[in-house]
Symmetry: C2
Subunit: 367 residues, 2 copies
């Protein structure tokens, strides 16, 4: 499978939900597979908080492949010999698309805290510009999990003519206070880190290790994205073997795991991007523009497929069942499917337990 990575600059202003306007913006994106002649084989993939446009395949110098490589590729569920797959880096994220550290054309300086608050709708609107530039007006499917699932719901409601199938995994119609609280911890840990300097940190100062406050915030995510049972199975009460023989007073394996993953994260992720993305997730509410969720979901024209995960502790299965019930209530029972996967990896199951739902998605796609 060939990976095509590209960047497009958009010069037409993007009016944001906040009323602010981005006079120009850039999106970096990847495509896999070939667009067929009647442009009927497009699949859009939406990434989550810490994801990027690099959804599948492996660059020459890369140890790990793209974040959904188990799901997307030649001969995989999203078969790149058959489909033309597009995944763009979300507006506001720091993997190449316009974000808080980009240059504000009005001042020729980095936006920093002057970067506008973005909503999921804004991110989707920006992506629609990309498809237009690529000459694409319709997709076979939009697929996303977690924050990517919020985008999928947004496509279903706000871009109802775009996609035939919408797959929203491990997500919610509006972020509940529990998930907001997990994000809050990250926001506070970043904000109170003296090296953050109220958003005016020097990037060079953070290059080697990144911001410690972001590592602490990431640790909250690492806990909330997994599950108590997974922790029991994966770590138990083992002591870290790398620490030598300090049983009683040493470091537990779970502590080593959290340290390793939390402190590596800020090496690749920017704290201002993290703050802006947390805000985007926190304020997501599919019912906002219509006052009720019923009115919002009444706009859906495509087939909406919901997949929840039984041990997801961030976006609970009940939250997705609520959407299913609304669709049935408003007479759209023939446009909704729902499946709860018996999962063992918590919220992250949509990334790591792909074999539990990939064939199901293929069936729906080909039905």
């Amino acid at each position: 499978m060939e990976i095509n990575t590209d960047r497009i600059k958009f010069n037409e202003p993007l009016r944001l939900e906040s009323g602010r306007i981005l006079e120009e913006f850039e999106l970096v994106y990847e495509t896999y597979g070939k667009l067929n002649e009647d442009k009927s084989n497009v699949i859009v993939i939406c990434h989550a908080l810490a994801g990027s446009h690099h959804a599948a395949g492996r660059y020459a110098d890369e140890a790990k492949p793209g974040w959904w490589d188990r799901f997307i590729g030649d001969g995989k569920a999203i078969d790149t010999r058959k489909y033309f797959v597009i995944c763009s880096n979300n507006l506001g994220s720091n993997f190449g698309s316009t974000n808080a550290l980009s240059i504000d054309p009005a001042t020729k300086k980095e936006y920093r805290l002057k970067f506008p608050i973005l909503t999921i709708s804004d991110i989707v609107k920006a992506q629609m510009r990309l498809y237009k530039k690529l000459g694409i007006s319709k997709a076979k499917a939009v697929i996303g999990g977690s924050m990517g699932g919020m985008q999928a719901l947004c496509y279903a409601i706000e871009q109802p003519d775009f996609a035939e199938h919408i797959f929203a995994l491990a997500t919610t119609a509006f972020t509940r206070p529990w998930a907001i609280a997990v994000n809050k911890l990250a926001i506070e840990a970043i904000r109170h880190d003296p090296s953050f300097k109220d958003g005016f940190y020097k990037k060079d100062d953070l290059i080697a290790k990144g911001l410690p406050g972001l590592a602490i915030g990431r640790m909250a995510g690492l806990i909330a994205y997994l599950s108590p049972k997974l922790f029991n199975r994966k770590f138990g009460r083992d002591y870290s073997r790398t620490d030598g023989l300090y049983e009683l007073f040493g470091r537990f394996e779970v502590e080593r795991y959290l340290e390793y993953n939390a402190y590596n994260f800020p090496k690749i992720f920017d704290p201002l991007s993290y703050l802006y993305i947390c805000k985007t997730m926190n304020i997501f509410d599919a019912g906002r523009n219509e006052d009720t969720l019923e009115n919002s979901f009444a706009k859906v024209k495509g087939k909406l497929h919901l997949i929840s995960f039984s041990d997801d502790m961030l976006f609970f299965p009940e939250e997705m069942e609520e959407i299913r019930d609304i669709m049935i209530k408003i007479g759209k029972g023939n446009q909704i499917t729902y499946k709860m996967v018996e999962s063992q990896s918590g919220h992250d199951s949509f990334l790591v337990e792909v074999e539990k739902f990939d064939k199901y998605i293929v069936e729906l796609l080909e039905s």
Copy 2:
């Protein structure tokens, strides 16, 4: 109800589980009610991570009463007209008992990081010294929740002749990696706060606001001690009314709640104490001295009463059911009772939903 607060200094060395020895130590404690003539009306209360010896009643200048005041007092479930109640501040905690900021008699300086690691068994052993000084060799009951419940289990196993009834609420026989992870977040947030200065912070520097890193750590606790459903009910997606009309971009009520409670906490709690107490909880394992839990619980002579809470997300009901099953398996079915309370306040239910279990405890006490 009269509150008697006192402090005792112990000059006989206390040999700790680590092999270290405390040449001397102090405990501060409170008693309520009167010791009867045959000393048969003693009830010991054990406090949790952030608790203190001030379990009940209200000091003259106090806005809030003691932490278990709903449960203990004249005419309450633990009726102080009938029982003589003792609650001591745990060794290692910063409310008056010997802790990391106490003076090491060997060096005449504060221990700081030279303070020994404590185990739950050590804390209980220190308390036993207190009862001896008070001329008490037996208790009608020992009662504790969370880390206080760990102490209760330790009394049951390691001081089997001491208490007739042991009530362990919202606790576990050994801390699982999920709870260790929540503590880990606090440990890391404290450790990486530059004001912590590797444990050599000046107390005066922290007097007004406390250590921000401890506030972040406390926030992890505030999330884990409650429950997603409680958050939904208590906060929903309300915006903070104190922030004015910033709906879309303002602060959610749940964020205000977390900030308020997290940032107030370090004003009363010392970061080194927090680290030492987290460690104590993390290494708790009722089976450690006997290799198996079965062998440990075989030592129990009193009646062990377990109370779990259905929505406890820190120490799950299954963890307490495990203890019940072990007691039955080893032929001690007549010494064990178990009740799961249908709770709505998560782990903190043992503190705030007292009316759901207090009569049940009275019945067992008087049976």
